[in-house]
Symmetry: C2
Subunit: 112 residues, 2 copies
C-alpha cells in the first residue's frame, strides 16, 4: 500500500493500537502490520517521530523499561489521548461517509 494514503490518519492508527494497552514502538509496528493483514507495514522513521509528536501533544506518556538487555520505551494513552482517539474516530467516520457519497455513482473500471 502506498503509505502516503495514511497522511493525516496515522495518529488515529497509533492511538487505536494503544487503546488496547501500553506498548513499545516496535511492538506497535508489528501489531499494526498484523491487524491490517500486512497492509500497514510502516517504517520506523514514520512511527517513532509520530509517537514523539503525540507525546509532545500530551496524548501519550512513556517510560523506559529494560527487557533482556534491550531498552524499550513503552507508550501509554493519556486521558487526553483517549479523548483524541474518540474524536478522530468520529472524524474518520464522517470522512469515509463523505467520500462514499462523492464516489457513489462513479462507475467501476471494467473488470472482466
Amino acid at each position: 500500500m502506498r503509505g502516503q494514503a495514511l497522511k493525516g490518519h496515522l495518529d488515529l492508527l497509533l492511538l487505536a493500537i494503544l487503546a488496547d494497552g501500553a506498548r513499545h514502538g516496535y511492538a506497535i509496528i508489528d501489531e499494526l502490520r498484523q491487524r491490517s493483514d500486512e497492509a500497514f507495514d510502516l517504517p520506523e522513521g514514520t512511527v517513532y517521530p509520530a509517537l514523539h509528536r503525540l507525546q509532545k501533544g500530551g496524548y501519550l506518556s512513556s517510560e523506559w523499561t529494560e527487557v533482556q538487555g534491550r531498552r524499550r520505551r513503552t507508550y501509554r494513552l493519556t486521558e487526553s489521548g483517549r479523548g483524541a482517539l474518540g474524536e478522530q474516530r468520529l472524524a474518520w467516520n464522517d470522512f469515509t461517509q463523505a467520500m462514499s457519497m462523492v464516489l457513489k455513482g462513479v462507475p467501476w473500471p471494467d473488470t472482466p
Copy 2:
C-alpha cells in the same frame, strides 16, 4: 470537516467528479460540496492547484470557454485519468478496509 484529512485523497475526489462529465473548477467545488452534503467545502487555493497538477500529470485535459463574459477553464478526464480513477478507487477501498481492521475492537467513547 478538518480538510487535512483528505491529504492524498483529493485527486480521487476530483477525478470522481469529472468522471461524470467535463466541468470547470468552480463547478467542481460546488458539486463536491453538494455531493458530500457540505462536508467537503474546499477553498479555491486547494482545488485549482490540484487541477493544474492533475493536468500536468496527464490525467486531465482542459480548454478555455467563455460563458456570458466569464472565462472558464473546463477540465475533462483523459484516458489516463480514467485509469487513475479506477486505481485510486481500488486503493481507497484497500485503505478503508485496512483501517477498519485496525479500528475493529477499539471501544467507542461513552455516548450516553
